[in-house]
Amino acid sequence: MPADALVSIRDLTVQFRTDRGWVSAIEDISLDINAGECLGVVGESGSGKSVTALSILRLHARGTARAARGSIMLDGRDLLRAPERDLRRVRGGDIAMVFQDPMSSLNPVLTIADQISESLRLHQGLSRAEGRSRAIELLDLVRIADAPRRADEYPHRLSGGMRQRVMIAIAIACRPRLLIADEPTTALDVTIQAQILELLRDLRAELGMAVMMISHDLGVIAEFAHRVVVMYAGRIVEQAPVGTLFSAPRHPYTEGLMTSLRGRDIPGQRLGSIPGRVPDPDESIPGCRFGPRCAHVEAVCRAAVPALVSISENHDVRCTPRSQALAPACL
């Protein structure tokens, strides 16, 4: 584990209760989020991005979800086993989260100032008046014009982009060391999406926090992340620094994703695409879960689940033929 890892996830498997018993939504996830870095997490719908993020803050509904294996370490403590009291301090304190749909996360009957200062009053014991003036500072910080007036408004008066700014203000109120942003711009218009990404990039630099940016959009990931984790069907299939991932992807799935973006600048040309679709978590597939869609599948792929293997510094791939061909021989 690198010295500067802020959060370290190891061998995490999370299961949900279904009619057919416990089903693994994510399996064997190991990743580090380093202090101050921006980690991108990319993958198609259902690949397990949100389940991974929610697990860090233990936000899954009790009784229907369980961490069957693994650990999530923060400051030498395993968040999966910490008492709920400690976790309340971590949430919104050390680690904060913004979601795709800002409206459902805002309380319609509280003013903007009250919602922003709620966590400050909880974590730092501020008075209501102190809370309001901190809220106004935070609204300025997220570039909301006319902050004192906005502070006393209710969420329904705000546009989607404004609401997302308010959510970001709430998230950064206690200066978290890690901000988890789960598709924060997916529901927004193109120019507003660009504004919010700029804001997050500026704030990351100003506040020195780490950001875990979750998106299905490789464009967003390319422009925002330093390092990227690619997920497929509940597993990490590749992880690399952003430049390496886009210039030299090694997993056939990552290659497929890149191909589906190419050719879009030539009118009339057919787009590259990966045949088939992402399997459901309860579909049993022997060996590599990408096998049925993979153009390079071999017998070894079906024989055993490929391991995530380091093929060069900071570049890991979960593909048996590729890691046999590319991994350094001396281990």
Partner: protein, 330 residues
Amino acid sequence: MPVTSETSVEVRDLTMSFGSGGAGRRPTMVQVLHDLTFDIGSAETLGLVGESGSGKSTVGRILVGLLKPTGGSVRLFGRSVTGADRAANFAAVRSRVQFVFQDPHAALNPRIRVGHSIAEPIDIAGKHSRRDRDDRVRQLLELVGLPRDSADRFPHEFSGGQRQRIVIARALSLSPDFVVCDEPVSALDVSMQAQIVNLLMDLQDRFGLSYLFIAHDMTVVRAIARRVAVMYAGSIVEIARNADLYADPLHPYTRALLDAMPRPDPTRIRPRTIPGEVPSLLAPPSGCRFHTRCPHVMPRCRDESPRLLEIAPGRQVACHLFTAAETTEP
């Protein structure tokens, strides 16, 4: 560039207003479309892009006859569907015009078997025997790349991409000539998007379909459209051939949209985005409705609304930056 010999769709000075009912008060009219003029040639795809609320779906709904415009004219295959003989003319072209909407979940009734959904337009038209109809359904399933036994299954047994194929099969059931595709891939993952866009292109090649392809994602439109119209707050601000628009966007809003698109290129340094948000249609800005966000705004822009002018062959722009260049004409 002249569009292809036969024109599927001719739209002139199209306007649309909705009553926005303040409860109890007299409803005020909100104008959501302003004097749109464009054509779609036969076997041509016109892309229509713009941000939320710019009026794209309203245009699509008018073209398939779901909404009656408040002004201007629409001709489909040469017949006016807005004039005096509106009803008769629309009946004559109804089967040649179909639509595919964004949300395949909402478009399909969860309790109706897929085969029935696909055959619905055939049943309404009521001119097929039972056997012809079932043959046609099987043929359509094959055409859109779904297994033949799909007809007896229910929508929930299919993924989002497969459901969109079902909706496309239904749209094709009466062999239309023109299809409005309203954000048909916006809800899908990249690789599924590519599959559906490829399918639409194949169908166009085979059957000579024309499309109005609505999207907010400029990269999808780039692959499928021959020409692209960009909308902002109810107006078309630029129409150009696909290659020209992407290589050299002229209107400041088109440029902002293209700059704002995230690209899968980590070495790119994205230009700063334009400030502000799309204006409320209840209180639209004076003059050019983009002037509140435009980096090139001039005094004239605040007073005078720019008209959509042809500034080069096949290239129309509505922006005061480009009127001056054309005043030297004889």
